[in-house]
Structures are given as C-alpha cells and as structure tokens.
Symmetry: C2
Subunit: 262 residues, 2 copies
C-alpha cells in the first residue's frame, strides 16, 4: 500500500514536470509574409509564467479541413492548445465553426456574447455581421476580452483567441491557474561573450553533459561592428542555473574574454 | 492518342497550379519567446517569387525524434520543405544529423566545405568545432552561403539552412529555378478603409463568392487614433485582381467612406 502511494506520488511528480502547450496560428496573412506574427513570442512567455512549456507551434491557412485536422491532432498530443486568428465577423473567419466540427459539436448564439455585442448600437446589416461573433460552440466556456470586443472561448484543452495582438494579449491576461494547471516555470540565465560559437563549443558541451536537466543553448549574433555569442541556460531549478552561470562566466574569463552580463 | 496528350497537358496545368512549401523552424529559442522569428515572413515572400506557396510552417524544439518525424511527415506532404536553425558548430546543433537519419543516410565530411572552413586559420580546438559544420549528409547538394560561412544543403525536396536571418537570407538568395520548379507567383492588391470589419463584411462575402479563385481577406487594424480594415486580394491573375480592386473601391465609396490606397 505504501509502495502504491509512493508510486502514485512519483507518477504525479513526473507527470507534473513538463506541461506542454502548442500554438496554432491560423491565417493566410501570416503564411504569405504580409503580416509578421508576434503572438508566438508573447504567448510563450506568458504561458511559461503559468508553468506551461510551448513545445510546438504551427502556422496554417484558413482552410477548413486543415484547421480541423490540425486541432484534432494537437489537442491529443499536447496538454494545452492555443489558437489565434479567424474569430472575427467576416467570411474568412472560419475558426469557430472548425473548432466545433473538430469537437463534433455545433455552434449556437451565446446569450452573454449577444448582450455584449448589442451594447453598441449599429445598423441592421452591421449588427448581423457583428453577431456572427456571438456564435460559440456548444459546451465552450468564454475567455473574457478586456480589450472590449467579443470574447474568445475554451473547449476542453483548446483555447481559441483573436489574432490581433492587442486583443489576444487582453484575452491571455485573463487566463489563470483556475483554468490552466501548469508545472514549474522555466527560468533562464544569459551571458554574452565576444567570441564565436566555435571558440566556446567544446567547453559548453562539457558543461551541458554535467547538467542534463538544463538546456544550454548558444546563439551567435552579428551586429554592425561586433559579433559574438549569447549563452543561454534554461531550467526550472534556479540554484542549478546560478551554479552553471558561475561556471560559464569562469570559462569565459579563462579564455581571456569578457563576460557580458545582461 | 490526342485524348491522352490532352489529359497529360491538363494534368500538368492542374498540378502546376499550386506548388506547396512548408517551413520547419527548428529552435528552442523561438519556442521560448526569447527570439522573435522573422525568417518565415522573409522566406514566404521569396518563395512566392519562385512560384512556391508557403502553406504551412512549424516551430519545433531541438529534439532529435521531433525533428526527424516532422521532416519525414512534411517532405511527403509538401512539394518543398525548408528548415532553418541548428546547423552551427555547437552541441545543440543537431539538425544535420537528424536530416540524415530522416533520409536513412549517413553524414560525412564534405571536402568542399572543409576547404571553405580551413581558409580561415584557427587554433586546433576551435577548428575542430568549426569542422563540425563540414558534416553533410551523403547525397546532399550544397546551398551556397554568400554571407561567408559554411553552406547549407539540399537533400531531395528538403532545403536545410541557417537560422541567423542574415545567413538564411544569403542562402535563399542563391536558390533559383534550377533547383525549385514553381508555378505562378501570387500577386496581391491592398486597399484600406476607415470602417470596421463588420461594416464591409456583407459586401466582401458577395465579392468573394463571385471570385472563388481569389483569396479576399480583411484585416482589422488599431492605431493610436484610428481603427480600420485592410482589404487584401490575393491571386495569380493580375487582371482579375484589378477588376476586384475596382469593385472593392466602389463599394467603399458607396458606403460614404474613403478608400486608402497603398
């Protein structure tokens, strides 16, 4: 019995270690290069604070079958899925219907959203378009939109949000531990050095091998008059990160170079 | 016989209509939000000029099994696949080995790349790291790197390039019609209007229905003192795009608003 409890606790710890998130960016305008996505970087940082690690992102076009199959694949493979884009009022906003189809449910007018939309008056034709945004899949809960417009929604582990960064960020700000059960956030340490990657490669490999739980990355940079490498340590154990940081700093000094601290 | 030729020609036309591209962005630093990807938008535009339509992009971590399975899935589903990231000299640069494993081939020192790398002298340890970048999968052809460093490579329909934007862009600049067989590039027309999406939604739907070959998108924008919508028409037939542009312009004027031309 004690063994069984220990096993359950151990399992819980192991399972809690990494909670995975996947982002699905829906929109032809991102794939054509017309619009530069910035939502991925924003969401990745916010999710990390909630203890969810972004482990994959996909950018897909406004094509019904693609949206449905991508959502269905990702919602089984990852703990949480976050979509952006395609929930506006025009004919190319098809995300809501696709999510409903992916979950085998239907879309209905949500009375709370109808109320929000009707607060602002509009001519009948405009109101009809705006009311498209009150169409919410049956079974979904709403994601508030402090930016002022219609909300997003959550269906099981899938969070459906707007693509306009200002609105997406407003929606993300409402997501808390009541809806997302994360693990420990990833913390990082960064140190720069005006050496090429090749000059630090061997030392880095040694340090990485000594600390398998930490992700040690090196990122070359090229600026006008200088090149160098940023060394980034990422992990959940702050004490371990500080130990590695000290070791990397010493490695840099031993090479006769100067550590550039953030 | 004539029928058969007609069929072959028709097949050629149908098959040539859309040549698909998929981008695989490899790197923990993009998924953590530390680095903002800009390669997708750049590559999408360049590929379009070569007649390849970017229809999906994936951002994946530096994990061997994930890279291999993603490459293998995408290279069968899309006409061309382009990867960025993970071909540098450090321990976290594992893309080359993963590509080789995906294609069931091995990695060997490529004499041409060894020559390029040895042109610049370096201490033995540094040279050893740099020579990691001469490891190229057997059967691959090189992608020149006018930025000055080691090249990328192509294996069948998969193009493997650096993640640093300056280097990636240099590599892309060498890709031409000798290696990439595209179709007609997508052209676009954009017109802005200081109306909300809901005010144009019904008219847009009607125009879209009349022109199924053109992708008509509406993208709301919010600036300091103004909001509005950009209407974007995308398709391969420039004459048809101009017809639609004129119709959209008239629709805006009929609504008493002002068309904002780019």
């Amino acid at each position: 019995m004690l063994n069984w409890i220990a096993f359950e606790i151990a399992k819980e710890i192991i399972m809690a270690e990494i909670v995975t998130g996947c982002m699905i960016i829906i929109g032809n305008e991102i794939l054509s290069g017309r619009t530069q996505d910035t939502n991925l970087a924003y969401l990745a940082k916010e999710l990390n604070e909630l203890g969810v690690r972004m482990v994959e992102a996909r950018v897909i076009p406004d094509i019904e079958e693609t949206i449905i199959s991508t959502v269905n694949e990702c919602r089984t493979r990852f703990d949480y899925v976050f979509t952006t884009g395609g929930i506006g009022p025009t004919h190319d906003d098809i995300t809501t219907d696709c999510i409903a189809r992916a979950f085998n449910t239907k879309v209905e007018m949500h009375p709370d959203v109808v109320d929000i939309i009707k607060r602002r008056e509009a001519p009948p034709e405009v109101m009809a378009s705006r009311l498209r945004m009150a169409r919410i899949p049956v079974g979904a809960s709403l994601i508030d939109n402090p930016a002022g417009g219609p909300p997003g929604f959550q269906l099981e582990n899938v969070f459906v949000m707007a693509g306009v960064p200002m609105v997406m960020q407003a929606m993300v700000s409402t997501l808390g531990k009541d809806r997302i059960r994360g693990a420990a956030p990833v913390r990082s340490r960064t140190i720069g050095v005006n050496l090429g990657e090749t000059q630090v490669a061997a030392d880095l490999l040694e340090i990485q091998n000594d600390h398998p739980n930490v992700d040690l990355g090196s990122y070359p940079y090229f600026r006008k008059d200088a090149y160098g490498t940023n060394l980034v340590m990422r992990g959940t154990d702050e004490a371990e990160l500080d130990v590695i940081l000290a070791r990397v700093r010493r490695m840099i000094i031993d090479q006769g170079a100067e550590p550039i601290e953030e």
